[in-house]
C-alpha cells in the first residue's frame, strides 16, 4: 500500500523536475531509499504469507491422502492388518501389491477427507501399534526382498495416555533402529504434513521424497510459536523460522527429491501422481540393482552426514550439500 504511494510521489517529482527544470534528485533518492526499506519488510511479510499458505495447503482436506496415493499407484493392493502384539491401528494402512512390475510393500498413514473418516483414522495420528504394524510389514518385505514404499502424512504420533502406556517412544525408536539397516530398498514419500517423530518413524529410507506442497517439521508451527515465541498467534512466523518447506529441506540436504505437483494435488492430483511415479520408477530401478551391503552402507552414510556443527580443531564442516552431491554423482540417479 505504502509502496504504491511512494512510487506515485517519485513519478510526480520526476515530472515536476522535467517540466520546471529543477534538480530534485536528492529528494527522489531519499524516497527511493524509503522504498527499499519498505520492500524488505514487504518481502518478509510476503515470505511469511507464502510459507504459511504451504503449511495450510499441506493440511487441506481435499488433498489426496496416503491411502489415495496407494490406491492410485499400487496395483492389486491387498491390505494386511495388525501388529501381532496388541491391535490393528486404523491410522496406518499397510499391504502388498505391484508398483509397475515390482512386487512391493506399501505402508501409509491414513488421513480422512471427512469428519467420520478422520475419527476412524484418528486424524492421521498413529498409536504405537501402528508403528509396530509398519515394522512387522517391513520385516516381511525384507524376507521376500520386496522394496518398501512409505507414504507419510501425519500431524504427529498420538499424544495420549494409551499411547504412552504402550510405549510410543520405544515403538518409534525401534522403527528407526531396524529400518536403518533393513536389507531391502526403502522409499519414503512425504505427501502432506510430516509431523516430527511420528513422520520420521516412516522416514528412514534410501531416498526421501517430498511432494512440492508438503511440509516436514520437528514441531508444528503452532507448537513452536507457543513454546519459543510464547505466542501461538505467531505460527506463521515460526513456520518460516523452522524451514519446513520442501525446497528449504532440499537445500538443507535432508530431502533428496521434490516432486512438482503442477496445479497442486488438491486441484488435480494426476500431474503430481505422474511425476511421482516417474521418480519412484527411477529410484526402484537403481536401488534394486544394489546388493544389500551397498544398500545398507548408502543408507547409513545418508543419515550419518546429516548435521551442522563446527569442529574447532580447525576443520569447518559447512553442511552436507557438497558431500551429498558427491554421493549423487557416485550413484547417478
Amino acid at each position: 500500500m505504502k509502496k504504491e504511494k511512494i512510487l506515485k510521489q517519485i513519478d510526480k517529482l520526476k515530472s515536476i523536475a522535467i517540466s520546471e527544470g529543477i534538480d530534485l534528485s536528492s529528494e527522489i533518492n531519499r524516497l527511493r531509499g524509503m522504498l527499499e526499506l519498505e520492500s524488505d519488510e514487504y518481502k518478509k511479510e510476503k515470505e511469511i504469507e507464502e510459507v504459511f499458505s504451504i503449511v495450510q495447503n499441506s493440511r487441506k482436506i481435499e488433498r489426496p491422502k496416503p491411502q489415495d496415493f496407494i490406491k492410485s499407484l499400487i496395483k492389486d493392493f491387498i491390505e494386511l492388518k495388525g501388529d501381532r502384539r496388541f491391535a490393528n491401528d486404523d491410522a496406518i494402512i499397510g499391504g502388498i501389491g505391484y508398483f509397475d512390475k515390482y512386487p512391493v510393500t506399501a505402508v501409509g498413514i491414513q488421513k480422512g477427507h471427512t469428519l467420520n473418516e478422520n475419527i476412524t483414522f484418528n486424524f492421521g495420528s498413529p498409536h504405537p501399534e501402528g508403528y509396530r504394524k509398519a515394522l512387522r510389514l517391513a520385516f516381511q518385505a525384507e524376507k521376500f526382498s520386496r522394496p518398501i514404499l512409505f507414504f507419510v502424512d501425519t500431524p504427529g504420533a498420538y499424544p495420549g495416555i494409551d499411547s504412552e502406556e504402550r510405549g510410543m517412544a520405544q515403538a518409534i525408536a525401534e522403527n528407526l533402529y531396524y529400518l536403518s539397516d533393513l536389507k531391502t530398498p526403502i522409499i519414503s514419500i512425504i505427501t502432506g504434513e510430516g509431523g516430527s517423530g511420528g513422520a520420521l518413524a516412516l522416514g528412514v529410507s534410501d531416498i526421501l521424497i517430498m511432494m512440492q506442497n508438503a511440509i516436514l517439521s520437528v514441531i508444528s508451527p503452532e507448537g513452536c510459536a507457543s513454546i519459543i515465541f510464547k505466542d501461538s498467534s505467531k505460527a506463521a512466523a515460526a513456520a518460516v523460522s523452522l524451514k519446513l518447506t520442501s525446497f528449504d529441506l532440499l537445500s538443507l540436504g535432508i530431502v533428496d527429491k521434490v516432486i512438482d505437483e503442477g496445479p497442486g494435488l488438491d486441484v488435480d492430483p494426476q500431474i503430481g501422481y505422474r511425476n511421482l511415479t516417474e521418480q519412484i520408477s527411477t529410484s526402484l530401478a537403481y536401488f534394486t540393482s544394489l546388493n544389500s551391503k551397498e544398500l545398507i552402507e548408502h543408507r547409513y552414510q545418508k543419515l550419518r552426514k546429516i548435521g551442522f556443527y563446527k569442529d574447532t580443531t580447525g576443520f569447518v564442516k559447512k553442511g552436507l550439500n557438497k558431500s551429498k552431491n558427491f554421493i549423487y554423482e557416485l550413484f547417478k540417479f
Binding site: 499424544p159 495416555i161 504412552e164 510405549g167 507448537g223 523460522s241 538443507l252 563446527k310
Partner: protein
C-alpha cells in the same frame, strides 16, 4: 520447615531452586518438603536421606558419583553448535551458554568403573534442556562408532526435553542418525546400557534412550514421548498419579531396572562383568 523464621529461610534456602541440587547450604526436598543439609545430600549422591527423592545432578557430579577418581577423559569436545537455520535468538543463546562454560547438551568421554574401561555420555539439561541438536547427535554417534572400533561398552545417562527446535528438521534427523549408529554398534556384539533420568522425553526417548540392551531408570524420573501438558490438552482430562514415571514404565514392561542412585555404580559394574568386560 514452617517452624523456621522467615529471616533464616531467606539466607539458607533458594526460593528459585528447582529439582537440581541446591547452591545454598540448605534445600527444601521436593519429595518430602523437609529441609535437607547440602553436604549431607552430596554425601548421599544427591538423594534425599529422608524420602529417597532423587535430585537432578550436574554432569560433573555424575562423573564424581559414578567414575573412579580422575578416570574421566573427555572426547569430542571440539565439536560445537552453529546456527544452521538462522533461527531467531539461537545464536545469542549459544554464545551465552558457551560463555558460561557449558559445553553442550551432552558430555562424552571414557571412564573407569571399578577399573573397567567404558565409554560414557552424560546429558546436560543446563544446555537448552539437554535438547538434541546436531552436536548432541554427532557426539552420541561418534561415541557408538568409537565403541565399535575399540570394543568398549557404552553407557548413556539420558536427560533431555527432546529434539532441539532451533535446528528444525536437522535435529529431528539426529534421532535417526543416533539410532542407526546404535544398531551398527549393537551388531558388533558390544553392550549399551541406557540410564533414563528425570526427565527423558521427546526425540531422545524416541531414539537412543530406548535402544539400550539394558535400560535402567532412576526412581521417580519422568519418562515418555509426549509432554504431559500436550497430552492433557489433547485428551482434555487430568493425568493419573504416577503417569510416565519410572515405576509406571517398569510396570508396563519398558524398563529393566528402576535403580536407586546409591546402588547404580555397583549394579553397572556387575552388569559389565557379566558381559565379560575386564579390568
Amino acid at each position: 520447615m514452617d517452624k523456621l523464621p522467615d529471616s533464616i529461610k531467606k539466607i539458607f534456602i533458594d526460593k528459585n531452586q528447582d529439582k537440581s541440587l541446591p547452591d545454598n547450604l540448605f534445600a527444601v526436598c521436593p519429595g518430602c518438603q523437609e529441609i535437607v543439609y547440602r553436604p549431607k545430600l552430596e554425601q548421599n549422591l544427591g538423594v534425599c536421606p529422608l524420602c529417597s527423592y532423587h535430585f537432578r545432578i550436574s554432569v560433573d557430579e555424575w562423573i564424581n558419583f559414578l567414575a573412579d577418581a580422575d578416570s574421566f577423559t573427555s572426547l569430542f569436545d571440539e565439536i560445537v553448535s552453529v546456527d544452521p537455520l538462522n533461527f531467531p535468538g539461537y545464536k545469542e543463546k549459544l554464545e551465552e551458554l558457551y560463555k558460561k562454560g557449558i559445553n553442550e547438551g551432552v558430555k562424552t568421554g571414557y571412564v573407569k568403573l571399578d577399573g573397567i574401561k567404558t565409554l560414557i555420555g552424560i546429558m546436560d539439561a543446563d544446555f537448552i534442556m539437554g535438547s538434541m541438536g546436531s552436536v548432541v547427535g554427532e557426539r552420541i554417534t561418534r561415541l557408538f562408532e568409537y565403541g565399535m572400533n575399540e570394543n568398549l561398552p557404552v553407557i548413556i545417562i539420558c536427560r533431555s526435553g527432546g529434539a532441539r527446535m532451533q535446528e528444525g528438521v536437522v535435529s529431528l534427523f539426529q534421532m535417526a542418525k543416533t539410532s542407526a549408529a546404535a544398531k551398527k554398534f549393537s551388531d558388533t556384539g558390544n553392550l549399551y546400557i541406557s540410564i533414563l533420568t528425570d526427565p527423558t522425553t521427546g526425540g531422545v526417548s524416541a531414539s537412543f534412550a530406548f535402544l539400550g540392551d539394558i535400560i535402567i531408570a532412576e526412581p521417580g524420573a519422568l519418562i515418555g514421548f509426549a509432554g504431559q501438558r500436550v497430552i492433557e490438552q489433547t485428551i482434555k482430562q487430568k493425568l493419573p498419579e504416577g503417569f510416565q514415571r519410572a515405576e509406571f514404565l517398569e510396570k508396563k514392561g519398558f524398563i529393566d531396572i528402576v535403580c536407586d542412585r546409591r546402588k547404580l555404580r555397583e549394579t553397572l559394574v556387575k552388569i559389565l562383568e557379566i558381559h565379560r568386560y575386564r579390568r
